[in-house]
């Protein structure tokens, strides 16, 4: 049982480039989330989805886009990368929005924009 799988694990982008961070879960969870984690800061919600075809903005959505065409996949798109997007990105999923059993997180993607 893989849980939440994120690819790639590491990436270096040049300013202005674009990329997609992949996230797949095999637990049939309806809810999926993208967070970023900066040193010394709490996790910040970028976007979330309550089911296939439904997405919504979180706390820090600017510069990002998402789609949710299937229950399993929730890719995060970075357009025109900027140094401020240097961070560690985590994808998470949960069965319910009430998160009674917590979120299951992926192992993260460390992104550097130079």
């Amino acid at each position: 049982n893989a849980g939440v799988t994120q690819t790639p694990k590491f990436r270096i982008l040049k300013i202005g480039q674009s990329m997609t961070l992949q996230c797949t879960q095999d637990m049939n969870h309806n809810y999926m989330y993208w967070y970023r984690q900066d040193p010394g800061m709490g996790l910040k919600l970028i976007y979330y989805s309550v089911g296939a075809g439904i997405t919504d903005k979180g706390e820090v959505p600017n510069g990002y886009n998402v789609s949710r065409s299937t229950t399993e996949d929730f890719p995060l798109r970075l357009e025109l990368a900027a140094p401020s997007q240097t961070s560690v990105y985590f994808c998470a999923s949960s069965y319910s929005g009430r998160a009674y059993y917590g979120y299951t997180f992926g192992s993260g993607t460390r992104l550097t924009v130079v």
Binding site: A99, Y100, G102
Partner: protein, 111 residues
């Protein structure tokens, strides 16, 4: 404004030296409080959910407690493998049920 504050930022303990981590919160309405463990280079791993004041949860050397304003994560006789960053998060009771994470406490257990 809804807030979650964890203290201390970092804590170094000798193996076997018990201590507590604090998570204080100010929210309009608490739906639940969560504790996670995060190892370097990995995603957070869920530990506990607490829902109401007075509630306690235990797992091995860890015990989480909840009051109306804060939660404690007690670590009894810790071992080096307990070294990690411990994150606290609260789910706010409103239409969005948003979750706010604290900045974490880095715990280092010396052998």
């Amino acid at each position: 404004e809804d807030q979650v504050t964890q203290s201390p930022e970092a804590l170094r303990l000798q193996e076997g030296e018990s201590s507590s981590l604090n998570c204080s919160y100010t929210v309009s309405g608490l739906r639940g409080l969560f504790w996670y463990r995060q190892d370097p280079g990995k995603g957070p791993e869920f530990l506990f959910t607490l829902y109401s004041a007075g509630e306690e949860k235990e797992k091995e050397r860890l015990k989480a407690t909840l009051t109306k304003k804060e939660s404690f994560l007690h670590i009894t006789a810790p071992k080096p493998e307990d070294s990690a960053t411990y994150l606290c998060a609260v789910q706010v009771m409103n239409r969005d049920d948003k979750i706010i994470f604290g900045k974490g406490t880095r715990l280092h257990i010396l052998p």
